[in-house]
Symmetry: C2
C-alpha cells in the first residue's frame, strides 16, 4: 500500500517541531517539483485543510477537516491488527467488492477499506445500500480467521457489537440490534452489516466485514422508499458526528473484539449481542424464503441462527427478515 | 465466451455433408486470409488432428486426437446447464482460481473451465495437486445454487458421485469414496475434489466444484512423497482412457445430478455417496486440527459432517483426515 503524496505532506507537518515545513523541504522529501508541491497544497486546501503560508518560513497546518484519509486514521489507530493498514478511496463501487478482491489477491489480515462514497453499496440478499458522499461511513475489514466456514456468521455479531459500543462512545444514545445484521436507534435503522466470505469446504480463505453507518446524513436526504425506516446519529443527537473520531474509535473496538474472539471464540460475542436485542422474549414475525413464521424470539444459538418458539416447538432460522409481530 | 478460430474450423468440418471444406470457404467464414487458414490447419495437425488436403476439393478431417477442445466437448454435451459453456486452457495456475474469478465477474452458472495442465493445482487445506499435462483431467464447474452457505458442502458429495459413476461408465472398476473429498481405486487415490465458495452470511454468491482425476498418468510419473498412495484409471485397467470420452460423460453425470439436486435437495446425494464408502461401520482414526479421534465410522449427517461413534458418544466432525484404524 503506497502512501499518497498528500498523506506524506500531512506526515511532514505532524513530525516537525515548529509546525513549519518549507516548500523546498517537501519538494526534496517527495522527490517532486516545487510546482507539484504547490498543487498538492492547493488540493489539501480544497479538501478543507487550513494551511498557512508564511514567507521565509514555509507552510503550516492550522486545522484538519473531517475527511477520512488513511494517514489521519492511522495516526489515531492503536490496534494490533485491524486498522494498521488502511486504504481510503474517494469513490468506489462497494468497499466490500474492493476488500474481497484484495483478499483474493492475498492482501494481509486486518486491512481496512474506507470510501467516502459508494456507487454500488451492497445490502444483504442483493439489496442496495444508499451511500451518499461526505456524510457517512462505509468501511470493510479483511480478516482470515482460523475457523470453519460454518462458524464465520458469528463475525456479523462482532461487527454489530463494535458499532453499538462506538455509538455509545460518542453519544448518550442506546443502540439496539435486529437479527441478523441491523443496528437501530429508536426503532430506525442507523447501520447495516454485510459479511462476505471466500471459503473451501473446510477452510475459510478470507472474510470481509462490511459496515455502513449513517453518521451525518439528514432526514431530508434519506430515501423515503425503504424496507425499514432509517435514521442517522446526527438526526438522533441533533449535532454532527466527527467521521474521523467515529472511525478511529470503531477501528479500536473492532480490533479489541477480534483479539478477544481469537482467544475466547464466538459465544461471548453472541451473549453480548443478545443484551442489545430488545426483541428477545417478544412476539415476532419472520419472513423466510418460503413462508412466514410467528412466535416468540428465544435468542440465537452458537452458530448465530435465530431461535423462535412457535406452537410447534423451537424453529431454528438461518436467514429471514424479522419484525415485531402485529398486534 | 468467443469460439476460437480452430474451433470454428472443426465446426465447419462437422457441419459439411461431404466432409470437404475448401480453404476459400474457411477464409470467407472466418474473415481471415488464406495464409491464416493454412496456419490454423497446421496448428490443428500439430495438436494431433489428421487433416487430409485434396486438390480442388479442399480439406477433410480424418481423425480427432485425444485433446480437450471446448468445441469437441460441446459436440458431445447433452446437458441443460453444466457443459453448455466450456472454457479450455492449455496451461493455467488452477482451474478453481480461474472459475472463482469468472464467478466474481458475473459469469453464468454451469460454466466449465478445463486445463490441460495446472502450474498451481490446489488440494484442500492449502495442499497442492500434482497436475502434469496431456494425461489427466483438471476441471472446475461454476454453480449458483439457491441454498444457504451451510448447505453448500453437500455439493462435494455431488462431485464425488459424478466421478464414481463416470469411472463405472468407462471401466469395470469399483470406485470407493473417502470422506470428505477423495475417490479411491483399490485403496489408492485416483481423484480429489476441492469445492470453493463465495458467500454472504445468508446467501451463496457462487460455488466452484473443482475436480482433478488421474486418468492416464503412469506409475513412474506419480510423485512418491505423498500423504496417501495414488493411482490412475489407466494403471488400474492397463489401458489408456479417452480424455474426451471421460470428460463428456462426466459433464453429463454432473449435469443430471445437479438437476436432481435442485429438485430433491442433498439427502439423496449423501445416501448414494455412503454406498460408495467402504469405511462405513469400520474403525477409523481422524486427525482433526487439535486432536486425533478413534472410533467407528457411523456415516455422514445432512450437512455432510462425519459421524464417529466413540466411547464418549457420537462425535460430529466438520474437517479432518480419515484413515482406517491401525490394528
Amino acid at each position: 500500500m503506497t502512501t499518497s503524496l498528500r498523506e506524506t505532506i500531512l506526515q511532514l507537518f505532524r513530525s516537525t517541531p515548529t509546525g513549519f515545513v518549507s516548500g523546498a523541504q517537501i519538494s526534496r522529501t517527495l522527490g517532486v517539483s516545487r510546482t507539484a508541491v504547490w498543487k498538492q497544497i492547493e488540493k489539501l486546501r480544497e479538501l478543507g485543510y487550513c494551511i498557512e503560508a508564511v514567507p521565509s518560513k514555509g507552510y503550516r497546518l492550522m486545522q484538519s477537516p473531517d475527511v477520512l484519509l488513511a494517514e489521519e486514521l492511522s495516526a489515531g489507530a492503536s490496534g494490533q491488527l485491524i486498522g494498521c493498514r488502511i486504504r481510503t478511496l474517494e469513490t468506489t463501487d462497494s468497499t466490500n467488492l474492493q476488500a474481497m478482491a484484495l483478499g483474493d489477491a492475498g492482501a494481509p489480515e486486518g486491512l481496512v477499506v474506507i470510501a467516502d462514497r459508494q456507487t454500488a453499496g451492497k445490502g444483504r440478499l442483493g439489496r442496495s445500500w444508499i451511500s451518499p458522499g461526505g456524510v457517512n461511513l462505509y468501511l470493510s475489514v479483511l480478516l482470515r480467521p482460523p475457523v470453519l466456514p460454518a462458524a464465520a456468521p458469528q463475525l456479523t455479531f462482532l461487527s454489530a457489537l463494535a458499532v453499538c459500543r462506538t455509538i455509545e462512545d460518542v453519544s448518550d444514545l442506546q443502540p439496539q440490534v435486529k437479527w441478523p445484521n441491523d443496528i437501530l436507534l429508536g426503532g430506525r435503522k442507523v447501520a447495516g452489516l454485510l459479511n462476505e466470505m471466500s471459503s473451501e469446504t473446510d477452510r475459510v480463505n478470507h472474510v470481509v466485514l462490511g459496515i455502513g453507518i449513517n453518521l451525518n446524513v439528514m432526514r431530508a436526504e434519506l430515501p423515503t422508499q425503504v424496507r425499514y425506516p432509517a435514521t442517522s446519529i446526527a438526526i438522533e443527537t441533533g449535532r454532527p458526528v466527527s467521521r474521523l473520531e467515529f472511525t478511529t474509535l470503531l477501528l479500536r473496538r473492532l480490533d479489541e473484539l477480534y483479539a478477544a474472539y481469537l482467544v475466547e471464540g464466538g459465544r461471548p460475542l453472541l451473549t453480548a449481542w443478545e443484551a442489545y436485542c430488545e426483541l428477545t422474549g417478544q412476539m415476532i414475525e419472520v419472513d423466510c424464503q418460503q413462508r412466514r413464521i410467528h412466535g416468540q424470539m428465544a435468542g440465537i444459538d452458537d452458530d448465530g441462527a435465530l431461535l423462535v418458539k412457535t406452537s410447534a416447538g423451537v424453529e431454528r432460522i438461518l436467514a429471514g427478515d424479522v419484525r415485531p409481530a402485529r398486534r
